[in-house]
């Protein structure tokens, strides 16, 4: 029983970080109707920023959120403005070509990082990297707990932004009906840039939070792009609440798989869940909340 609870706890904690990854991709999906196949690579760039800040400037990874998130926000805005939006101006180009562009962005980011840092594995070992908190016999890995807490705060912040501010409402309006939003004075092009920037900043947060308990190499983005994609589809393509549930489900599924099947197969378990949800709940997890 303890093993089971322990497994669930670890799964939920990592699921909180996955939720951040999925939320970012979901926002981009909702507004631009494209799958951002550079999502994990944006996360990877943020991890390198965090790594450099720790290694050379001794800045704690949690403080470097204040650098990695704005930096990736800016990078995201620039990608949307100069690489993705220009594709929309040419009528003969189908929107799917934006997705191909994100693949290109992913490759460039990966190779640039490989050029600078080589392919070596890197990690950030903070004094608390392996600190553990016990509640009765259940172990809470300290950095995971902090990461989960910050992830929840960021998620709450995102929801406040989307639900309570005019700009956040404009983002949702643009996702639901772009022409109507334009008629009401929403600068839809700026909203797309803002959205991609926010998505990138959320990915950055996930990367930075993960670094103290993970390792880093230029190709680490690929698996995370795949995870983000799974979470987004699990959540029901464009549903923010669904993305959070998708993140938690994926975290728990991987954790259960690692404990009860095999560590090596934990990603496969995620894929199996993905296929099952597609088969039995084609609308994604969000169909569960639509009472």
């Amino acid at each position: 029983m303890d093993v089971f609870i322990q497994t669930m706890v670890s799964g939920i904690l990592i699921g909180g970080i996955y939720a951040l990854v999925g939320l970012g991709m979901t926002l981009i999906m909702g507004v631009m109707r494209i799958i951002n196949l550079a999502h994990g690579q944006l996360m990877m760039v943020a991890m390198y920023i965090t790594f450099v800040l720790y290694e050379y400037f001794n800045i704690d990874p949690y403080f470097s959120l204040l650098v990695s998130m704005p930096a990736l926000f800016l990078l995201g805005v620039l990608i949307q403005k100069y690489l993705l939006n220009p594709l929309l101006r040419i009528e003969s180009i189908i929107p799917q070509n934006q997705i191909l562009m994100t693949v290109g962005v992913a490759m460039v980011l990966t190779e640039v990082m490989r050029f600078i840092f080589q392919s070596d594995y890197k990690s950030v070992k903070t004094p608390y990297s392996s600190a553990v908190l016990y509640i009765s016999s259940i172990a809470f890995n300290f950095p995971m707990l902090i990461a989960f807490g910050i992830a929840m705060l960021l998620t709450a912040g995102l929801f406040f932004f989307l639900l309570k501010t005019d700009t956040g409402k404009s983002v949702r309006a643009t996702a639901q009906n772009k022409d109507a939003a334009l008629l009401l004075g929403v600068n839809a092009e700026w909203i797309t840039q803002l959205t991609y920037g926010l998505g990138a900043a959320l990915a950055a947060a996930a990367g930075t939070l993960l670094l103290p308990i993970y390792y880093l190499y230029p190709d680490v983005g690929g698996p995370f792009t795949l995870k983000a994609f799974i979470i987004t589809v699990l959540g029901g393509l464009g549903s923010t609440v669904g993305a959070i549930m998708g993140g938690l489900v994926l975290g728990v599924a991987e954790s259960l798989g690692a404990t009860y099947i095999s560590m090596a197969l934990k990603d496969a378990v995620g894929m199996v869940i993905f296929v099952l949800v597609l088969v039995f709940m084609p609308g994604g997890l969000k169909t569960l909340t639509k009472v």
Binding site: E91, A173, N177, D179, L183, N187, A188
Partner: protein, 234 residues
């Protein structure tokens, strides 16, 4: 107040509007009538700058609209209530209305405007927290008109506000439109209910295959043989 001068426009290679010119004076209530596909909605989209004309000019007061991006049109004082409502279905009625007053000027008066609009539309007042997508057709139209009013426009352009509504609800919408006109808002309206709208408007233009073919006072056009044959089935 609003002037279209020799406007040609279309979608891609397909030209829809041919040398369209007309004007709406301050405080006027002008109606555009024409068969399905005549290009009425296209004219509305040109005014809102969603489509750029291939040639010709669109003027509002002393501004050239066709050189302004679409999201700046509402700030100039034009509220477009589009065909088929175009609400944000997964947002509440209140959120839809708030989105009608995004500009700093409109936002400063949001509370008062909201109160005024809710008095005009008591049905919406009761449904503030309901998702717009779950409103009935008539309520959705009211919500779309109310959203347009939230910007405190000088001019409103309505694209078929009676679309899909029962005769009774159509009457109600027309009464509201007249009331808005009474508050000093200049109106341009596209309608299929030709007889009723010609009776309440000041002037009207008849559009045929993307060309303006007739113009006159509403009541005069009601007597016009061509109009009678084409629209009134007499």
């Amino acid at each position: 107040m609003l002037r279209l001068e020799h406007v040609n426009a279309g979608y891609g290679d397909i030209q829809v509007l041919w040398d369209v010119s007309f004007r709406v004076k301050g405080n006027e209530f002008v109606v555009l009538v024409g068969a399905n596909g005549a290009g009425k909605s296209t004219i509305m989209r040109v005014i809102s700058s969603l489509i750029s004309p291939t040639s010709g000019e669109v003027w509002f007061e002393d501004q050239r609209l066709d050189q302004v991006p679409p999201y700046k049109i509402i700030d100039l004082g034009i509220a477009h209530v589009p065909e088929a409502r175009q609400l944000f279905p997964e947002m509440t009625v209140l959120e839809n209305l708030e989105l009608g007053s995004l500009s700093p000027k409109a936002k400063a008066h949001r509370k008062e405007t909201l109160k005024w609009v809710m008095e005009l539309f008591p049905r919406l007042n009761e449904r503030q927290k309901q998702l717009a997508g779950t409103l009935s057709g008539g309520e959705q139209q009211m919500c779309a008109i109310a959203r347009g009013l939230m910007s405190r426009p000088k001019m409103m352009i309505f694209d078929e506000p009676s679309l899909g509504l029962s005769p009774l609800l159509t009457q109600e919408i027309f009464r509201l439109v007249q009331r808005i006109h009474g508050e000093g808002v200049t109106l341009l309206m596209v309608e299929q209910n030709v007889k009723q709208t010609l009776a309440i408007c000041d002037r009207a233009y008849v559009l045929e295959n993307g060309r303006v073919v007739l113009e006159g006072k509403g009541k005069e056009l009601l007597e016009n043989e061509q109009v009678k044959q084409a629209f009134l089935g007499i």
